[in-house]
Symmetry: C2
Subunit: 255 residues, 2 copies
């Protein structure tokens, strides 16, 4: 496939430990894979984590929108792709995809990133040195990723507690993204997860979860969404009643 | 590297989500990787899981002995290797290694496997059809992997509870091996894990842990082992007071 200057792809063979009991990539591992390809692109352009940190801060993800056609299976070789689509003063919009060798697209993910300054611990203007090499397009109006709807106070919820473990922290020194997905979706239970397939997910990260904390994962019962006919679930991750992550998921029957 | 007929290797590039905060492969992921190469060998020889199941049972791991020189780092391309070393009527002894491109050996793992018959739910004679293609050596006396020492009743222990999650089950439809390691080692705490490196581990699987169960992970405080000068910790995984997994770990300072 011909790639644009702002695009990057890598091959990846799916391992059994990236798959669920049905032999299909888990949503958490899908996110791990797309972060992997964007890290490889940054490294290839010599603007990896170290260089970003040397510019006084770090990239922080605020939102993902995930759209799934279907997901690759164990042993398959896929292409992970990413594109630094556009950016403005404060926001960088990036797209990701997973495709097979005949360009069937398994999944598309849109992500919004900000640059968090170490000194102020606040969002800051994105330094030119860490954005220019991507050949991303500078824009006035950045595409918007829809925030997930919150759980209403009168909605029935399921909830589970999870402990943040040492090995949940990956080499980025943050709780690995996959674990947020595992906490959020595990609450729905094996029966639901076995019989349903995730088609779409919006996720918003508000606060970071840290090692040793106990997280509460809340989920609503699946309800039909009239706009697309999918089953919808709403999710929240809280630490001591403080909201850290919010998501909406849309599902179809696996059969 | 020239491989014997009973040997098999594959290349693997280390991802960030296989690494700990120091950017080094986690013990759990090391085991995932060596199981991966043995599955690829079995598939290449057309005696993968489906064929084994068609012979009326499945391979079950009883013990591992893990010896670590050091562990590969994020982005490194390594070779995962395995050898179907020897077998007798009931036991199959297999070795695994992880090496770099100049044959520096990161880790060596020995594993003992039995064939569990579905009908009787017991260990049974290994069918010729699923062992012959490995070119393993039939022996009278199979090498022994030392069982870990149990935690004595008077030893002080740390303990944590962990919930077995849906996404802990991998495409082999069992709790993924890495999670046993995460449960066992997490109890030691971030401070110890940050400052110590695992050198050796003996692990014995007695009973399977299942989805939805709460596991208790018990660990003794690190104590000097006079025989090798390493710090030693003893580990047990229990479900409702029933022992499922036992291990001993030996550690050195990371510095």
């Amino acid at each position: 496939m011909k790639l644009a200057p702002n695009e990057f792809e890598m091959e990846h063979q799916i391992t059994y430990y990236e798959c669920d009991p049905a032999g299909v990539v888990t949503p958490g591992m899908l996110i791990n894979m797309i972060v992997l390809v964007s890290e490889r692109q940054s490294d290839a352009l010599k603007i990896g984590t170290q260089v970003v940190n040397d510019n006084g801060g770090g990239w922080v993800i605020t939102n993902y929108e995930i759209n799934i056609t279907d997901l690759p299976k164990i042993d398959e070789t896929v292409f992970l792709g990413t594109r630094a689509t556009s950016y403005n003063r404060y926001f960088a919009f990036r797209e990701f995809w997973v495709r097979d060798q005949s360009s069937h697209k398994y999944a598309h993910v849109a992500g919004m990133f900000v640059f968090m300054e170490f000194a102020s611990r606040k969002m800051a203007k994105i330094p030119a040195a860490i954005i220019d090499p991507y050949h991303s397009t500078e824009v006035k109006r950045i595409p918007r990723i829809k925030n997930p709807a919150a759980i209403d106070t009168d909605e029935a919820i399921s909830t589970n507690q999870y402990r943040v473990r040492y090995f949940d922290i990956d080499s980025n020194r943050h709780v690995n993204n996959a674990h947020y997905f595992d906490w959020m979706l595990d609450v729905l239970g094996a029966e639901f997860l076995k019989t349903h397939m995730l088609k779409k997910m919006n996720i918003k990260y508000a606060r970071e979860v840290r090692y040793g904390q106990m997280v509460n994962s809340l989920a609503t019962a699946p309800e039909q969404d009239e706009t697309n006919g999918y089953l919808m679930t709403k999710h929240e991750i809280k630490v001591d009643e403080v909201l850290t992550t919010q998501a909406n998921c849309w599902w179809i029957d696996r059969s």
